[in-house]
């Protein structure tokens, strides 16, 4: 939201001389309580998002992984083949508010690509739009697999294939790297890329949380914020957890236009594994701030049942859609 200047508004009522500042408030304002805003998980939006029409459900974004089509190479290595399709699609990012997105496989964020360190990955991108697109992975790979202009960019109607070894283990991301870069990411061409350590991580209830936002009026500032695209989706339908169980969230920040985003959990603390590249936690905290494309693995437990809020501690984002609830039973 771009704000109007105070002067600009006064100007609208112009020459009568409203420019003189000052003057104390005349009458005391009676205190009013808004009964509609007093339940846990209450949000400011009105109405519901049609997830079926979107073609993807918040739960699916949270808990589904694309492990690829698995085969064995001659040397015994695991080979995983993934198929991504870039297309254009209108999605509902807040109740009644539609955004003309660019999508991988019909969803924003795109499928969570998951593999084990050392696997050979083959990812094919099929471009069904009128623009150039690519897939650029974070992590180790050869220069020619970089997915940038001049290195495997898919022309409209064409396909390209990226091939590299999944490495290092950790939480990464992928996104389109065609130009203009900011537009291609902001429109929705991104997703989480999880490389598991060879021995895996401890068993946990795992969640994928992609922090994103939408500039619905295309003025280079966001109107709607969310975790996994739909504003307040997990406030409307809280994420179900069990008291005492280990919860692992893969948190990726792909917010454009705002330099930082963050995640803050209520009533608990989490172990922070920066970029997920170590199995030893860096710190115990309850808020972590992330620049664009930064991502972390966090692990936590709720001891007692109840409704617990989580949100960005850029509070403006919280009010504009980036807030959700855990329902611990």
């Amino acid at each position: 939201v771009r704000r109007l200047g105070r002067r600009g508004f006064l100007g609208a009522f112009g020459g009568a001389g409203l420019a003189v500042a000052g003057g104390a408030a005349a009458a005391a304002q009676p205190h009013h309580h808004d009964p509609g805003m007093s339940m846990p998980g209450m949000v400011g939006t009105v109405g519901e998002v049609d997830h079926e029409r979107n073609g993807f459900h918040p739960d699916e974004l949270l808990r589904s992984y694309d492990w690829g089509e698995v085969s064995r190479a001659a040397d015994g290595r695991t080979v995983r083949e993934y198929h991504l399709v870039a297309s254009e699609k209108e999605i509902e990012v807040a109740p009644g508010v539609r955004y003309p997105a660019w999508v991988y496989n019909g969803r924003v964020p795109g499928p969570t690509i998951r593999a084990v360190e050392g696997d050979l990955l083959r990812i094919t991108l099929e471009n069904r739009t009128d623009h150039l697109h690519s897939v650029h992975f974070h992590g180790y790979h050869p220069a020619e697999m970089d997915g940038i202009p001049g290195a495997r960019e898919a022309a409209p109607g064409a396909s390209v294939t990226y091939e590299f070894t999944a490495s290092p283990f950790g939480l990464h991301l992928y996104h389109c790297h065609s130009l203009p870069l900011r537009m291609h990411i902001a429109r929705g061409l991104y997703g989480a890329f999880i490389v598991d350590p060879p021995g895996g991580r401890p068993k946990a209830n795992e969640l994928v949380m992609v922090l994103n936002a939408f500039d619905t009026d295309f003025n280079a500032s966001n109107e709607v914020y969310a975790v996994n695209t739909v504003a307040f989706a997990y406030a409307a339908a809280p994420i179900q957890l069990r008291a005492g169980e280990l919860v692992r969230a893969y948190v990726v920040n792909v917010t454009e236009f705002d330099p930082v985003n963050s995640i803050h959990l209520h009533a608990t603390m989490f172990d922070l594994f920066r970029t997920g590249t170590s199995l030893t936690p860096h710190e115990l905290t309850d808020v972590v701030t992330m620049g664009q494309a930064e991502r972390h693995v966090i692990e936590f437990r709720y001891r007692l049942p109840g409704q617990y809020m989580f949100h960005a501690h850029q509070t403006e984002f919280t009010d504009l859609g980036w807030m959700g609830m855990f329902e611990v039973t």
Partner: protein
């Protein structure tokens, strides 16, 4: 050369003369020819509108456009009156207050072209803390509205009406009347000084014209593209200019025809001069009255949108402003009884004002009355009778009281396009008075008059700063 011209002139005079006689077209043909342009135009418009010709050029997707026409604040509630002033239907999906989504209720979320609706947002707004309201449409377009200093919207209760009327008296009518008290002092002044006073009046009015136009155009910019605020302003201004000019000329015609028998006596100039001064004073008073209507509108609107805390400063500024406007009315009255070398005489000799020597019973009719065939003591007596205390009070009322309905209109109703129209009418009316007074002043340019004109503009600027 001369011959040729004569010949052609004759031909024009008698078109059926030398050439072959043309048969008159039949009645049917005449009717057909009379209707043909209308039918042809209808067909052309139809082709342009429905033949898709315009769209080949314009291309483009229609842009959503919504104007916030009015905001009403009551404890715990923000209410916006919105209008779709774009080319395409708009659906209001969400409301953001101070960069946060807020629950709301809207009477009809989808607005057709030029349709309006009311958005009610429960919100614990606070007095004097700026409010920023944004509406998010189904396509993600943002409609923003800023309330710089929120306060409870005044209701139309009798007490509010009375309070606004008091404010109107304080800021307009009373100061104008006070300004008129300087009339006797101005009367004793010399010709040069009264000429300068007229120039001063012209300066005041010229400034008001510029000021009102700027105000109107700024307000017009907020109306929204679909309703074309500038067009509405132009309609009001040019319409008012034409109507007031017509009213003035109508007055001249009536007077000149009724005064014809006494035309000979008017060569002395004095009665016509006196009456012209009165007429001019009325014109100035009406122009200032319309301007005060606009000022009232502006103050009322400001109070309604939440600048009520500025009320005291505004009223003081406008009061000083209106004192100078009282002087503007007094100036033509002051110069009227002077010998015929005075600028007012020029009015009667000015071809634009009609035939010289007309005598009139005052303006408006019935005001102050009689023609005075003799100069000297008679003129002095006429002065006393013509500019009575009652007449002065009436002048002050005409110039000052319109601020009250302006305050009511601005303070108690939604502004928007009507406020723009009102300011347009005010600007047109002032422009007409500027033309009338300007006609007098330009006939006798002098350094003193020029200095006086400039001083008036300066005074208006400075008193405007206070408001």
């Amino acid at each position: 050369m001369y011959q040729a011209r004569r010949r052609s002139a004759r031909t024009l005079d008698r078109p059926t003369g030398p050439g072959p006689v043309r048969p008159a077209p039949s009645r049917a043909l005449r009717v057909a020819l009379a209707l043909a342009p209308l039918v042809g135009l209808a067909v052309l418009v139809g082709v342009l509108l429905f033949g898709n010709l315009v769209h080949t050029v314009s291309g483009g997707v229609p842009v959503e456009s919504v104007a916030v026409e009015d905001v009403r604040l009551s404890p715990g509630t923000v209410e916006l009156r919105v209008r779709n002033d774009g080319q395409t239907p708009v659906t209001l999906s969400q409301v953001m207050v101070d960069d946060a989504f807020r629950p709301f209720h809207v009477s009809s979320p989808t607005l057709g072209r030029l349709a309006s609706s009311t958005v009610v947002v429960p919100y614990p707004w606070q007095e004097a803390i700026p409010l920023h309201v944004a509406l998010l449409t189904s396509t993600g377009t943002v409609v923003e509205h800023e309330i710089p200093s929120p306060s409870r919207t005044p209701s139309g209760a009798p007490a509010t009406f009375a309070m606004l009327a008091l404010i109107g008296l304080a800021m307009a009518a009373i100061p104008v009347a006070l300004g008129l008290l300087w009339l006797p002092m101005l009367r004793r002044a010399s010709a040069r000084v009264t000429g300068a006073m007229l120039a001063f009046t012209l300066g005041l009015l010229a400034f008001l014209l510029v000021d009102t136009t700027a105000e109107g155009l700024e307000l017009a910019a907020g109306v929204g593209a679909g309703l074309n605020g500038v067009g509405v302003f132009a309609l009001g201004a040019l319409g008012a200019l034409a109507i007031f000019a017509a009213v003035e000329s109508l007055g001249s015609v009536t007077r000149s025809s009724s005064a014809r028998p006494s035309a000979g006596r008017s060569s002395s100039g004095r009665p016509g001069v006196r009456v012209a001064g009165m007429r001019l004073a009325w014109l100035v008073a009406v122009g200032i009255g319309l301007h005060n209507l606009g000022e009232g509108l502006a103050v009322g609107t400001a109070m309604r949108i939440g600048e009520v805390a500025l009320g005291a400063a505004l009223v003081i500024g406008f009061a000083i402003h209106n004192l100078t406007e009282g002087v503007a009315i007094a100036a033509p009255l002051a110069s009227s009884p002077q010998p015929p070398t005075y600028p007012q005489l020029r009015l009667n000799q000015d071809p634009l004002s009609g035939p010289a020597g007309k005598l009139d019973p005052g303006w408006p009719p019935g005001e102050g009355g009689a023609c005075h065939p003799q100069g000297g003591p008679g003129a002095a007596g006429g002065r006393a009778a013509g500019v009575s205390v009652g007449a002065l009070l009436l002048l002050a009322a005409v110039a000052g009281l319109p601020a009250i309905p302006g305050l009511w209109l601005g303070g108690l109703t939604s502004g928007g396009v009507w406020a723009v129209l009102g300011l347009g009418i005010a600007a047109g009316a002032i422009a007409q008075v500027v033309l009338s007074v300007g006609r007098l002043v330009v006939h006798r340019p002098s350094p003193l008059a020029a200095a006086s004109f400039t001083a008036a503009v300066g005074v208006m600027y400075l008193t405007g700063l206070l408001a």
